[in-house]
Each structure stands twice: as structure tokens, then as C-alpha cells.
Amino acid sequence: MNMIMHVLPLLVFTTFAGLAAGAYVVDALCGGLRTGGSDASPSAAPCCAWLFPLVCLVLLGVGLCGTLAHLGQPLRFANGMANPGSMIAQEAYWSIAFGVVIVIDLAFAKVKGAPPRPVRWVGAVVAVGLMIVTGLAYYHSLGLPAWSGAATVPLFVLGDLALGAGLCALLDRGALASGKLACANVAAQIAFAAVLVAFGLHLARIGADMTGLLVAAGVVGPLAASVAAGATHAGKLPAQAGAVAVCAFATVGVVLARYAFFAAGMM
Amino acid sequence: MKNGETYVGTREPEYFTRDGKLTRRTFIKGVGAITVASALGFGARGIGAGEALADEAPAAAGERAVHAVCTVNCTSRCHLRGTVRDGKLVRVEPGDMPGRPGYANACLRSMSYIQRLQDENARVMYPMRRTGERGSGEFERITWDEAIDEIAEKLNAVLAKNPQAASFYSFTGDLGKLSWEAPTRFAATVGATTWDIEGIMGDHGASMGMTMVFGTHRGAHDSRDYLNSKLLIAWGRNVADTHTSELRDYVAARKNGAKLIVIDPRQCSTAAIADEWIPINPQTDPALALGMMNWIIGHDLHAKGKLVEESVAPYLIREDDGTYLRMVDGTVVATADGAEAAEAGSIGTAPAAQGTAGAGAGTYVIWDELTGAAMSAPEADAIKGGAARPALSGSFTVDGVACRTAFDHLVDACSEYTPERTGEICGIEPAVVERLSKEYIEAQPAGIRMGQGMQRVYHSYAPFRTVATLAMVAGYIGVPGGGASHAGGTATNKPVAGYTGPVYDYSDWSNTGKKANLVPSSQVYSAAVDHDPVPIDFLWIANSNFVNMSPDSNRIINEVIPAIDFIVTADPWWTWTAKYSDIVLPASTYWEHWDLVDRSPWAMFNQPAIEPMGESKSDVEIMSLLAKKTGVEAYWDKTDEEWVRQFVSTDHPAWDDLDWDRDVVEQGIYGRSDALYDPAIVYADGAGYKTDTGKFEFYTETLVEFDDEVPTWKPPCEDPREGDLAQKYPLVYIQYHDRLNVHTQHILNPALEVVQDEPLLQMNPVDAEARGIAHGDVVRVKNDRGDMKIRAFLTEGIVPGTVATQSGWTPDYFIEGCYQNLTHHTICDAEEAYSMTNSAFYDVLVEVERA
């Protein structure tokens, strides 16, 4: 219980901010969802173009609140940006930058009904930056051998992509049928599965053991989410239920993996 | 002997030396070459003279420097420097020891003690009257007046019938003179009973063993003397945890090239810095010493000259009755009066208690090889001068009485201890026995520090007596870098020409009108239960967690305590014992009251650094209150401070430089003007033996009837080697004093939790595996007397067949039960005949199973 309370703020930040960041990258790669753009899927409803940035903004905001809960002196959070050499400060910079891009995205969507694609591309780039500095922040933890392995950065980047793919599916429930997003989900989950294995091997090498949680993460995430994505694409699952299932499986899978990650470092 | 400068250079970092500071007084007086040399060396290292001469770092703003001497019963007596802020003690550091640079010390227990002693939940804050069953812990607060009135009423009733039926039981919780002695002094003023403490607490085996051979309870080389040693053996003594103030000297000796060997059933903390740990089966130390003697004598490497000159080795022993042959005016006489127990009158509680030398020295007989005749045993000098050549070995007939030398008896006793047999008993490879013997005799010199760890056994005098005899056989007694030492290092004072008076004025303190009835503490259970040798109708317990620290706690709770009508405990802590008392009185700690420790060459002082917690009072204050109600107030007419002032108010030259405000109030320690700070040894030049023979006396004729006249090894009371008990309970259970505790008073200072937060059962993996026990498992340790539930700590650092826990943990910290449920109180006839039984705490069998 103590461990959960200790890990919770970190889990909240990395999961919620990761959902938003991953969604921007997947959206950019998959060519736009719910953007109302000319190449959007036919089912896209222009009236809801603001939904994607709004959801991402809320998620990022919740995530940042999580970081405040992690601080012993939350009111001094602004001090935390003083040293650009620190990955914690970098997380703050990239989070703020990402937030600004989302706000711009949201403004365009609200005002014009759709943002220009370059805003999403910028958002994706900033999101990747956030993912990497988040991973690096843990990777630099020399005092915690579980975290300072080569799998740490990929674990966060690919986890965020898996989260983002799931979120994209949820936000555009028809998209899984189109194939591109279904592929993106499966690809992200396969890559995430690979990094889970790599992380598990790293733990074994340093004498830690989180096999149970990691296997659970692999089953719920990569396996179940991919199956759900495939089934939805093949029409064997209703689009709506399929999208919810993919997003839920992806999220639970990543949360389990990250809990294992945090617990391995802190115990 | 190496000079002090070398010593200081060897063990002290030259940069930022803190410990080397000298007080102005000591420096100016220049009491010895050592001091001046180190003082100059200190100054030369570049720290300003003014700073070096000041006492310690100045206190910060709002803070006040205070001083105390730690009075718990380890063998150190450390001068502590504390800091008080807003009326609270906030830190404790090592306090400087004038004249002995590098000796400032404070252990982790003393430093964290301030947390516990200022915790009102741990302290007894007010006088309390029991309201529930004994042991229930249900008490109500009462006033001091009510408490004293109630106690006085009970006490006066007992005193009126039989004063000796009132008992005052003061142990070692606070060894300040006032605190330690006030309850027993009170007993003297009313003619009540007190208890000679060493037996039941399990320290008396050492005293008996020492007294048999040396004639005194204690005696040790200054630990700095080990710079002269080539080999140093810590034998059953974990100095690193139990005498921390001397550890630096062991480290210095080792840096100086001495090999350090630790003989212990456990790889104790001291073993961590040793060159070698020799794991020995508990209870078998005398066997190892006998095996070593056998090897040394067998190789003709024993110190024949020293044995002949300084020991009873050449003394003739009658073949008919095993007593010393005695001659008066050239004629053999029947066993003289001197054969009575030499120590009958000297089993006192004070460490200084000792026998008188050579009471019958003139009557003993040797065989002179020069004249081929028996003669009165000569002094060592006469032998050295060639006036006589006593035969070390041989059978002789004197006046028709067949005799052999005492040495031959010793040789006989050793002879069966071949390396193989010794190894089998001790659990040591025979090759190691041989190598140890060889290294010991070849070291020239080798020092031995003996520890009480080896003497909490049945026949408890054997370990110290036998190991000391080994040192004599090797010729190391009285030799720099040698010795077989017991207890603390020796500090000395210069004899003052023409002055014969005492240093301290204890005349009023010693004047008690009546006398206390001193009873061996080995008889306290039978006194309570069977009224033998005295009844206990009223029991005053002070400075003691009696239930927790005495053997067989279930017996105490079920038989002893119910047999006593009224029990008062005066203690700072809510001990297990306090919970079984009818009235509990809040006693103050050494940071809260005046007291004195007269530890030569220093006088060390306690004084109230903080207000006493709650309504706590010093033992003197408490006894003075009771004195008013029992008609002995005339003997209790001083405050604590007045007593201390009187103690140091003689015109002895020791006090020439005493400035009360500077030395007592500000510094808390006074280096006497007659002090000698050089490292001293005991029995140098063969002088100082206080035995009846005036020699090192390894032949004890009073033990003939117990077949123990020379050092022997006897199997333990609860023998793991054979018998039904060993079948049922195959593991030997021992306790040890470790870094966390002296007795129970430091359990559990909050800052110590990081070190260890529960009692643990140390167990060799071999024994654990056989019982399906894994590291960290909860296990039940049991025998017929009781049990405890505790976590197992597996380690290769303990001999197989033995399990061990740290002493001092209270029942609160055990999952169930307590370690003292397992121990026993078995009277040993030989010990009782010699003086009194020593509790065999480490002579216990148990079985361990997963709980």
C-alpha cells in the first residue's frame, strides 16, 4: 500500500501525459483523425474537431497535477525549472511546450473547425521530446539500477505510443476499421512487448524480479489489445466496443508495466 | 615499552585532531612526558594553541554545553559532552579525557539515549500505585507523599519484626556512586538485607577465576600496552561492542603489527577487524586453554623460570589429602588455618574488593634442588638470586609425607587435552589448536583480553582461571604486551610522599550506624520462596530490571514474585520488573542528577543538565524521603550536590588544582593532580599477587573436594553432547551483548532502529536447513522452561549447533515470549562453596522450529 501511494503520482503523470503525447505522435503518423481535414476519414465529424486536443489537454493537465503530488514542496514547483541540465526541468519545459501546442491546436479547432496539419506535426515532435526526456529522467537514476538500464527510454517511448494508439482508437471509433490505426496499434503493442522482454532481462541481470507483473502487462497490453484491434478491424467486434477495449487494454498493460518499473526501482 | 609519542602518532589522524585536546590545567602542569609530547605534537600540527587549550567547540547561540559520565554497566566509563537547547538535550558527543589524548568516546547507545530519556512515554513520570494484577501494567498516579507514606508503613512493619526481612536490591543500571549505592546504604542504615550482585547477574565466574589465581576480582593491562604485543587474543570478549572506548587501542595495536585473534562462538563485531576468528563451541574455553598448555608444556616451551618464581608451580602438594604441604619451624604441620576459603569475606559488590596478600605465605613448601631438601617457599627475588632452586616437577617425601609439585598436578590435568581431544570438544580442527598454541608461545609477547562471554556457564570460574593459567605457563603474566586481562584498562596515580589519608572523603557516606546483611544474590530465589537464608517480606528494587535480566523469568514471575508481599521499584523506565511491582517510583537518569564516578585517574561528575522528567528524583533524594519516615533521617541529611562536594573535599594533593566551577560544572571531569597517564600493566616483576600464597595460585586446595583443584574442563550443566535433554533440545542457546544494548535501558532508542529493530535468532544455515528454516522465518525457540517466537537470522558466522540472541531485548519486542524464559538458575555446589553461584546464562539447551 505504501508502495502504491509512493508510486501513484509518477504513474499518474507518465500515464496521462503519455496518453496525450502518444496520441499526438500516432495521429501525426496516421495522418489525422477527427481533424476534419480533407483527407480525414469520411466518418469524421467536423463539429468534434476540438475533442482530440481538448482530451489531450485535460490528460496532460491531470498528469501535471500528478507531478505536483510527487513534490514535497508543490508550491515551489516553479523552482524546478532552474537547471536545464536536469531531466526533471526538461520534463517541465517539454510539458509546457506540449501544452502550448495543444492549446494552439485547440484554438484552431474551435475557431476554424480544424487545425492545420503542421500544428499536429509540431505537437508530435514536442511529444516525442517529452517521451524521451521522461525516459531519460529515469535512465539517469544511477542510484536505482532497475531504472538505469538501456530498456528504460524505449519502455517509456513505446509505452506512450501504445497508449496513444489506444487513445486514438477511442477518440475515433471508426478508425480501427480503416486499417491504418489498427496496424499502428498492433505495431506499437508488438514493439512494447519487445521492450517488456528487454526490461525483464535487465531486471534479471541485476537480481530483481518483476516477472509476474511484466507477464501480466504483456498479456493485457500487447496480446489483448492487438487481438482486440485485429478483431475490430476484421469486423468481429463492434467498432465502438472494440475501440474501448483496445484503449482499455493498452492503458492497463502500460500501467502494469510501469508499476513494475517503479516498484523495481524503489523497493 | 614504546613511548607515548609513538603511540599517539600511530593511532591518530594528524589532521583535524579533535581528541587530543588538553585542558589548560593538564597542559600547564605537565603531568608526564607523554602528555607534554603529545601536546607539543598537537600544537605543531598547526592548530592554534589557544584553541587547542580550550575545552571543545564553543556552544552555539542559544545552546549550552553540558557534561556527564555514562554510568551504565559496560566496562567503559565515557565522559560525554552534551548540548542543551530550550531545556532539552539535543546532542551528545565524545567528551575529552584530560591527559589521555584520543580516548574521548561516546557509543551509539549513549548518544541516542537522550531520545529515550526525554520521552515521557518511556519514562516513569510520577509515583504510581498498582491497581490491577501484578504484571497487568495497571497503575494509578499518586503523590510522592502518598507513595512514601505507604512504603514506610509497610517497611516499618517489617523492620519491627525482622529488619533482615526487608531487602534492598540495587544492581548496575546506574553506576554513579550515589545512585548505585543509595539503596544499599539505606539498607545499612536500617539494618536490612542487600544482595551481593555478581552471582545472579552472571559476572561472578570471572571474579572467582581471577581471585583464585591472582587474588583479586579484576586486573588488566591498559589497552595501550598492546602496542607491545605481537599477538593479541580477544577471548570471549567482543570489545568492539562492549568496551568501545578501548577499541582504538586494539586497532592501533593491529596497525602496529600485532596479530589479532578472536575466540568466540560467534563471528562478533571484533572478529570483523581480526586477522583470524577461531569459532569455538560455547562452554569449552577451558578445554582449549588446557589443550594449548598441554602443547606448550609438551614441547618444553613453558616459562619454567617464571613458573618457579611467581607461581605455586613448585609448591608441594600432599598426596594424602591434596592440600598444600605446610611447614612451621621446619616441621610439617597439618593443614593450616590458611586453607579456609580465601575469599569468604571479599565477595563484595565493588570491583575494588580484593583479598589480602600472602596471609599464610610463610608456611608453604618447595623442594630445593640445591640442597636436595624441602624448604619454606622463597620469595621470587631469592630464587632469582640463586639462593634456592625450587623443583618444578617431582615426587618427594617430606617428614614422611608424600608430595608432588603443584605443577605436576597441572601437567596431569592438561595431559589428556591432546590437539585431537581438544579439537573434538571445542569444535576446532586439531591443526588449528596446534597452530594457535605455537603462535601464542612464539609471539613473545602475546596478550589475552578475557571476556565475560566465556564464563556464563556452569563451573564458571574455570574459563578465566584456566586461560590465566595458560598465560602464566607461557610466561606472559606481568610482561608488557602480555597478560590475561579482565575488565577495563588500568590507570594509575602517583604515590604522594608522606600523605596517607584517603583521596575521597567517604566518611559520612560510610557511616550508616547499622550494617546491612549482605547475602549472595544466587540465593535470592530461595530467599523469597523458602525464606532461606532470609525471608523477603519487603523488596526494594533499584537500578535493575530484575525480571528481564535474571535467569528463568517464568520462575521469577510464577514463584519468586508471588512469594514477596510488597515490591517497590525505583526506575526511570517502565520495565518488565516495574510492571510486577506494587509501587513504582520515578528515578532520574544520569543527565538529571548529581553523581560521581571515581575512576582513577579522573573524577567524573554528573549534574542536572536538564530538569528531571516528570516528578522523577535521584536515588539519594528518594532514600532521604524514606529516611524521614523510618527514623534514619540523620544519615540522610545532605542533598546530592552536598554529598558530591563532600566527597572531593579532602586536602589530598589530588585536588590541588580542583576549581569546582571550571572542572566540575563546566567540564564535568577532573584529571587528578596525582594522576599518571602512562599505560600501566599488572603483576609487573611478579609483584602484586593477592592470593594466600602471594603467588600466582593455579592450585586451589579448597576445590579438592570438587575434584577441581587445578584448572579443568567440565561439561556444561545442559550438555549438548549426550543424554535425554540433548536428544530433546539439541541446540546450545547463548546470548550476547551487542551494539544495541548494554542491558535493557537502551531498548529501543529511536535512532537505533536503523541498526536493528527487533531481536533476532542467529543460526548457522546447517542447523536451519535441517529444520526447514529460511532466513527471516519466524521460529519458536523452546525448552522445558519456556519459549520465544522470534525471526531467524541465518549466518555462517556462528558455530553449528549453537543459536544466539542479543541480550537486553524486552518482551515487547518479541513476537511472543522472551529469551529469559529459556535460561535457568541452577545452584553449582563448587561455586556456592567458594563464594556463590554464577548464573549460567549461556549453558542452555533449546530446540528451534518453524512457527
Binding site: 524546478g80 537547471n83 | 563485531s269 570483523a272 558466522g797
Partner: protein, 189 residues
């Protein structure tokens, strides 16, 4: 400008008895609150503290006392987001400005030695100061003064004649975990 010091320590593990007087002395005398500790102790060659390693009858019992290494390239300073963690150029002492610290705990993660310890009473990071105030007056840190085995030697590593400098040379003292690259100022024999 005053002569620059590089304070450091040599710990002779050969003489460490594992008593933790250093740990407790520091905790008490520096009034380190809550569950924070600026010193700690681990087994030199095993997993479990106080458990002998090797096999009976020749096992080993040895300890490694740990404190802040006051590194020359301190990970805590480099990675502290707020700049509260800093290294004093005049003494080499690494300290935390508790008025600036946001208590993210990151320094304790990035330190290879786990030296910074969260003050869970005031919710701010705390750490070993090398007893800077005492050292400024020429007095040994508490842990050094209290060590009953004289296993710790403190002084200026810039001074080749200082006790730790000499001991380092004589006994070939090495830092712990040099591969972490922080260049510690605490060396072990």
C-alpha cells in the same frame, strides 16, 4: 581568494566493526529529523548486513559505511532541477539549499550512492554536509570524531601532507563505484 580546499575522507574498511556509531552520531548530533539518515552501512561483500559471507569456519564479516561522497562531478548537482543542490567551490562540499528545494527526490535517485535522504518531517531533501560548520572551525565531522575504530580520516585532499592524502597513497584507497563517473571525494581501503 582563500586557498581552495578539497575536503575528503578515507574510510578503512579493514577496521570497520559495523557498530554504526557513525550513523547514529550523525543522526543525533546533526539533529537529522524523521526517517532521514546521512550515513548508512552495508555489507562489504554480501547482500544482507551483518550476515557473514563465505562458508563456516572461514567466513568473512566486513562492512562498507556510506555517506555523501561530495563528488567532484556530482550527479545530484547536475540533475537537481531547482539548483538547490550545489557544490561549494571553496571546500568541495556538496549541500542542498532547503529553501529552494522542491523535494522531488530526484537527487536521491541519480546519486549512485543513494546519499541524499528525504527529510520526511519538513518535506525537503537533506544530506550530509561533511559537518561544514565544524570543519570550518577545524573540527572533525561528527562521524569521524565518534568512530571508535578511527576508521575514518578526514581532511583536505588538495594538501598532499594531509592525513587522508597520505593514507590514500600508503594504502591505495579507491572510491566506491568509480564507474558511475561522479569522481567521489570519499575513498575506501
Amino acid at each position: 581568494m582563500a586557498e581552495q580546499k578539497h575536503y575528503g575522507m578515507v574510510i578503512d574498511t579493514q577496521y570497520c566493526v559495523g557498530c554504526q556509531t557513525c550513523t547514529v552520531s550523525c543522526k543525533i548530533s546533526n539533529e537529522v529529523p524523521g526517517s532521514a539518515h546521512w550515513n548508512h552501512l552495508e555489507s562489504l561483500d554480501g547482500e544482507v548486513l551483518y550476515q557473514s559471507t563465505g562458508t563456516f569456519p572461514r567466513p568473512t564479516l566486513a562492512f562498507r559505511p556510506l555517506l555523501c561522497n561530495h563528488c567532484e562531478d556530482p550527479a545530484c548537482v547536475n540533475n537537481c532541477p531547482s539548483g538547490a543542490m550545489r557544490k561549494d567551490p571553496d571546500t568541495g562540499i556538496v549541500s542542498v539549499n532547503q529553501d529552494v528545494c522542491i523535494a522531488c527526490g530526484y537527487c536521491s535517485w541519480v546519486c549512485p550512492y543513494g546519499a541524499p535522504s528525504m527529510n520526511d518531517v519538513d518535506h525537503v531533501m537533506s544530506k550530509c554536509t561533511f559537518c561544514a560548520e565544524r570543519v570550518a572551525e577545524g573540527i572533525d565531522p561528527y562521524c569521524v570524531a565518534a568512530c571508535p575504530a578511527n576508521a575514518r580520516v578526514f581532511g583536505d585532499l588538495n594538501d598532499p601532507e594531509s592525513a587522508p592524502s597520505k593514507l590514500m597513497q600508503e594504502r591505495h584507497a579507491e572510491p566506491y563505484l568509480p564507474e558511475a563517473g561522479t569522481r567521489p571525494s570519499v575513498y575506501y581501503v
